[in-house]
């Protein structure tokens, strides 16, 4: 018989007897379930006019009659084809054990309070874990430094290429644009005071001290911390980390150190690129909009800006790099064996590393100001 002729399944009740009629199949599940729910008690059912039957229909029949009755289907419906009886029996057996798991706990103000507490506790634990992981990384680094035959130069260079060299174009472009924007801002504000020449100081100060390193670090947090988390997280999901451990290899030494070191090498270089490119953007705006020629720009730079501003910017770079890399790796190790977990931890690593970078930068700015550097 053609498959597409569908006779919706239904339940018919006359004097004493229930009959199942039509197709008891998945497409009619919702209406059949309602019909079954309306019948309270049933001892047996007439299946003579039953059309198609699949697992969902069989499950409903089991709901209606109870697994024990359905188990004895050959007693009350001997004419049913053998494979139908087998299906009903299989589903009845499957339904005999209780199917319903306990419902999940509900909401309410108490649950919200509990969730808040859990979040705070999780945050505290996260910071503790981060500090512990930093300690672990540093102690492994120390041991490895003393044993030069365990240095992994190839892996280090590969990671420097990925995190540093490949990031140069985007860092340069971004800082160039921000440099131009800062110069425009300076020009607009300083024009009222007739002091547009100080735009040069504004651009160079801000890029040497803050923006060069900050922009590069934030870019690396988005670009590389996430990559570290995803790489290590999927290795964890695939039991590759366990495989390393089982072979007596140290995942910190093999996976974390090359990444952290590569980052601490890359970020200072990228910071330099960012500083130069940002000042280039500022110089371009100065030349085009303020009639300050590049020569004049360089003269002011040489005359007015002491070297210490460059150093203040530069010393922050390795610290930021270390933190971003360590957070990226740690979140990878925390991921569990599911796609969702890897995603959550990747998000968390980017958010945490950007947060840490900005927080530390603010603290550093305070410190350097107090010190008069």
């Amino acid at each position: 018989m053609p498959d597409n002729v569908s006779r919706p399944g239904r339940l018919e009740q006359d004097a004493h007897r229930l009959s199942a009629i039509g197709d008891w199949t998945l497409p009619h599940y919702a209406s059949l379930r309602d019909a079954v729910a309306r019948v309270h008690e049933a001892e047996s059912i007439d299946l003579e006019r039953l059309g198609e039957l699949d697992t969902s229909g069989a499950a409903l029949l089991v709901d209606l009659l109870g697994p024990d009755t359905v188990r004895d289907v050959d007693r009350w419906a001997p004419n049913l084809p053998a494979e139908r009886q087998a299906l009903l029996r299989a589903v009845a057996d499957a339904s005999r054990s209780p199917l319903f798991a306990p419902p999940s706990p509900g909401g309410g103000p108490l649950a919200a309070l509990a969730a808040l507490g859990q979040t705070v506790e999780r945050l505290a634990r996260q910071q503790r874990q981060l500090i512990a992981f930093i300690g672990l990384t540093l102690s492994t680094l120390l041991v490895t430094l003393l044993t030069p035959w365990r240095w992994r130069i190839t892996s280090l260079v590969a990671h420097v290429e990925q995190t540093g060299l490949n990031a140069i174009p985007i860092v340069a472009l971004l800082t160039f644009l921000v440099g131009a924007v800062v110069a425009f801002l300076g020009a607009t504000v300083l024009r009222d005071f007739g002091a547009t020449i100080y735009t040069v100081n504004l651009v160079t100060y801000s890029f040497l001290r803050e923006f060069g390193v900050l922009l590069a670090a934030i870019l690396l947090a988005g670009r590389t911390a996430s990559a570290f988390t995803a790489q290590i997280g999927s290795m964890k999901a695939n039991e590759e980390i366990d495989a390393l451990r089982a072979q007596g290899l140290d995942p910190i030494e093999l996976l974390v150190l090359p990444r952290v070191l590569a980052m601490t090498i890359s970020l200072p270089i990228l910071t330099l690129v960012g500083m130069l490119s940002g000042m280039l953007g500022g110089a371009l705006v100065c030349a085009l909009a303020l009639d300050i020629s590049p020569t004049q720009f360089l003269n002011i730079l040489q005359r007015d800006i002491p070297l210490r501003h460059f150093l203040v910017g530069m010393v922050k770079a390795p610290l930021f790099a270390f933190l971003v890399a360590v957070i990226g790796c740690l979140e990878g190790f925390k991921a569990k064996a599911s796609a969702q977990s890897v995603g959550e931890h990747t998000t968390s690593s980017v958010v945490q590393s950007i947060f840490m970078v900005i927080l530390l930068d603010a603290l550093a700015a305070l410190y350097f100001m107090e010190m008069g550097w």
């Binding site: 018989m1 998945l26 599940y29 697992t55 494979e83 209780p98 599911s338 977990s341």
Partner: protein, 268 residues
């Protein structure tokens, strides 16, 4: 119901290539309604590739694959999706959705394709999980918490979610302990008899071949060497088949099967 024994999948002259490497060349095979077809072959002979070309995950480089009389390649995406709903696939490593628990894994196709409400779908999903032989409290576990055998059973439950007409199993008993593997074979037979689907079973497990398969297809030299009932395949004069079925493991499995099985392979 349609006739048992008619071909529901017809593969003619199938060609599959990966770059220079030819996997299949002029491969012919039928899957008949209601049968359990075992597919065997050495590692790397393209058993999984064959499975993927039938269910439409790999576009064949030549030849035709007709499923229920239609070529998937030529169908519009809506009609193709309708045909694909009649498949159930159990992937080699389970491929359960790692961020959903078991009942959600099985309920997903029920919600998406059959339009059931979430509560109905999850209820039905628990029936399917129980059919596949999982205990009731497994329904809320995540795939990462499962043992290998439970993953296979859960993947089978998901493959059965929409009551498919053809079930594709890629090494379902690989990695199971012998007791678990035998239970899986028995489960497959019970479900096939009850639900009446056909099975395309890629396997290396000789016990599975002896206990469950109606026909066995041997892939070698980029094509199907022979596709016939087991007794006939065993007698085929080919060095690979001889080694496979009459090697130490093959002999042991065949003896075990003869000892305790009735002619249609049903075990007590």
């Amino acid at each position: 119901m349609s006739e048992r024994g008619e071909a529901i999948v017809e593969i003619r002259g199938l060609v599959n290539r990966f770059g220079q490497h030819v996997v299949h060349h002029g491969l012919d095979l039928d899957i008949r309604r209601g049968e359990i077809l075992g597919v065997v072959g050495g590692s790397g002979t393209g058993k999984s590739v064959l499975l993927r070309s039938i269910v439409g995950l790999k576009r064949p480089d030549g030849g035709t694959v007709r499923v229920f009389g239609e070529e998937l390649e030529r169908l519009s995406s809506a009609r193709r999706a309708r045909v694909e709903r009649r498949f159930g696939v159990l992937f080699q490593r389970g491929a359960l959705f790692s961020s959903l628990n078991l009942q959600e894994n099985v309920a997903l196709p029920l919600i998406e394709h059959a339009g059931l409400s979430r509560a109905d779908a999850e209820r039905l999903a628990r029936v399917k999980l129980a059919l596949a032989g999982l205990p009731p409290d497994a329904a809320r576990l995540n795939p990462a918490e499962l043992s290998g055998g439970m993953i296979k059973r859960a993947a089978l439950a998901r493959a059965l979610a929409l009551d498919p007409e053809v079930l594709f199993l890629d090494e379902p008993t690989a990695g199971l302990d012998p007791i678990g593997a035998a239970a899986f074979d028995r489960l497959l037979l019970t479900l096939r008899d009850a639900l009446g689907f056909s099975v395309f079973l890629v396997t290396h497990d000789l016990d599975t071949l002896y206990s469950s398969c109606d026909r066995v297809a041997v892939i070698a030299d980029k094509r199907i060497l022979v596709a016939a009932p087991l007794a006939e395949v065993e007698g085929t004069d080919d060095p690979w088949i001889r080694d496979y079925f009459h090697g130490p493991r093959g002999r042991a499995a065949s003896q075990a099967a003869r000892h305790h099985s009735s002619p249609n392979g049903e075990e007590r």
